[in-house]
Symmetry: C3
Subunit: 263 residues, 3 copies
């Protein structure tokens, strides 16, 4: 018997009771659920970083999984909560762009507003929808409740494409740092498939005071102590320093501007 699979991604951290409260609620409704943490260490309120990390993790999971994502600076406001199906996966999130990078989500039509309060934990607090709305709705979906029961279908939702690279007017692209990983590798918003489409390879990347022109095939083939570009495991262009932190060298943080040139 296959167990329903629910993943969680939040900016709640792991120090408080918040994540455990979501899991307790889920197991009360769907005792058989397998709950997997994607991460709870998204920097507080950074919707872009959450969107990137969710999009990287989701395709590795088997279809049918229910993914709950909560990075939600607007909790308690009028922002909508949504449930969606994309690429064989189900998603529960605030409607703030958090699902914008999920493969297939941009063209998704099966998006519903979550309004059916019979699926909620009562009473619904004004500050903790993760526990009172997102977790119980996910558990009901994992347990077999139909997606159409959560509320009305939406014609439009927040595709939050502020992270999409833009042409710089000189044949190159401008973008912003999507993520900096534990090793200090800088993930850029430039995806390998874009280079393939234009049959081009970038020649120069600028970030902060740093200009990078070297490409490497593997971490191991990089000279120690010298920043280089690499095709990351997520197929985005990354700026790396072998056994060191490229982010530290570049002075880069989430959101730092990047320019990519071709010649």
């Amino acid at each position: 018997m296959k167990r329903p699979l629910i993943t969680l991604l939040t900016d709640f951290g792991t120090q408080d009771h918040y994540v455990a409260a979501m899991k307790g609620v889920i197991l009360g409704i769907c005792p058989n659920a397998q709950i997997i943490d994607i991460t709870h260490d998204i920097p507080p309120f950074q919707i872009g970083a959450g969107a990137y990390t969710l999009a990287q993790a989701v395709p590795t999971f088997p279809q049918g999984a229910v993914h709950v994502a909560v990075v939600d600076p607007g909790v308690g406001s009028a922002r909508r909560a949504i449930a969606a199906r994309a690429g064989g996966h189900l998603f529960i999130a605030p409607d703030n762009g958090l699902l914008s990078l999920v493969p297939g989500a941009a063209h998704q039509k099966t998006v519903f507003e979550i309004t059916n309060s019979r699926l909620f934990r009562r009473p619904v607090s004004k500050t903790f929808h993760g526990r009172d709305i997102f977790a119980p709705v996910a558990a009901h979906l994992a347990g077999g409740v139909a997606l159409t029961k959560v509320g009305p279908r939406l014609a439009a939702w927040n595709k939050g494409n502020e992270l999409t690279p833009q042409p710089d007017g000189s044949g190159g692209w401008n973008g912003r740092v999507l993520s900096i990983d534990r090793f200090g590798n800088i993930v850029t918003p430039f995806h390998w498939k874009d280079f393939a489409a234009v049959a081009q390879r970038p020649s120069r990347l600028r970030i902060g005071s740093l200009t990078v022109t070297d490409f490497a095939e593997t971490f191991d083939s990089m000279p120690v102590g010298r920043v280089a570009l690499i095709r990351g495991s997520a197929d985005f262009l990354e700026v790396c320093l072998r056994q060191g932190s490229a982010a530290e060298v570049a002075g880069a943080a989430f959101g730092t501007a990047i320019n990519l040139a071709f010649t």
Copy 2:
């Protein structure tokens, strides 16, 4: 078939092998157990913070769960280990006040001292009772061993109410910070039901050099950059700063004194 549910709360952190060792022992005794982490990031030896976090998480879990809590500065000393039933949940902890805030625990009579060494992992080390006593006893209880088998019933145990607010002699209350969450929200020990009981609303809170008189209904309705009081998701009064850290502004830490006045 419902799987036995065991939660873990410790101050062990997640860097070392300590938490995994507890899980290994549990799965060796009760292979079918579902193990959920509440948190392992309680500040070292902070029994009060552990008690608060445990009390917030527990009511979200289904009844029948076994909760193991280990914040244990007295490990290896004469402090007792206890097992208790409260509110349909089972608890395993050192007898140092860690269970004092669990709903219903204060009036609990079914508390037992853990002395039955046949339920332990052998040999019992002097420094790691989490692995050698708390984890295996929890696994045996989750697997069906009766609570009465762990050892003798206790007439008295440590209800550790040093965190309970006290009257300040001027119609207000004194207390200390229960917790500071990842977002810098300050959790006070003043519970909403106490205000309801006296049909009063507090008018002013003092913490460090800060005096707060504003109330907000939601995070979203708070002016950015201005500290306000809010009814937290745990029904305790919280001091919050929208999209910022109230704890930083107030210079507050776990245990900082707070005064609450009514007019």
Copy 3:
């Protein structure tokens, strides 16, 4: 029905999608797997710390578990990936010494090189073998694939004994810090069974500018504010400070030199 048990130990941290990607791949191949995190907070590239932590956790788990360990500065290079059986447990790791401290591993003969690409996730990236090789191979083994199917048996593998204490020429031993735990306790590489073998007890430990001559039986019997030696829960000699950080007092870090003398 017993569920296949897979543990994970990495230096990936928990902020990124890396660990979740490994779990997603595992659950796609072996939906029934129980996945337990040992830790993901091994300091980046510190193979010795990973080896120590893995060795401490493994013996607490039931036999038959599959342990995946990834601390892998050589990812993408010619370093081999190995699968091994030791003490009733299965192991998947890069061949860089990460398995060197596992009980029984040093004398192990059933070690195989992982070369069978039919067990991999395709395409195999050059930078993320955790997701593309280690996780899927572990899931296949947990699901019943025979160890001999992963690739050819190896006559020799990396037993990485650079952490083994060496005689200092004066009747004592030299070694280096194996680990520093969350509480600042310093784990030395000197194992209690070595003292038993020589019917001796050490009399003096030197680390940095610190000389320690006091022994304590329990944390509780240590005077507050004074560093002492203790038999740790892992049976290694540890340097501890009651309710304080011995590592801070000694200025010790992972790898700091230690000398142990007998009289």
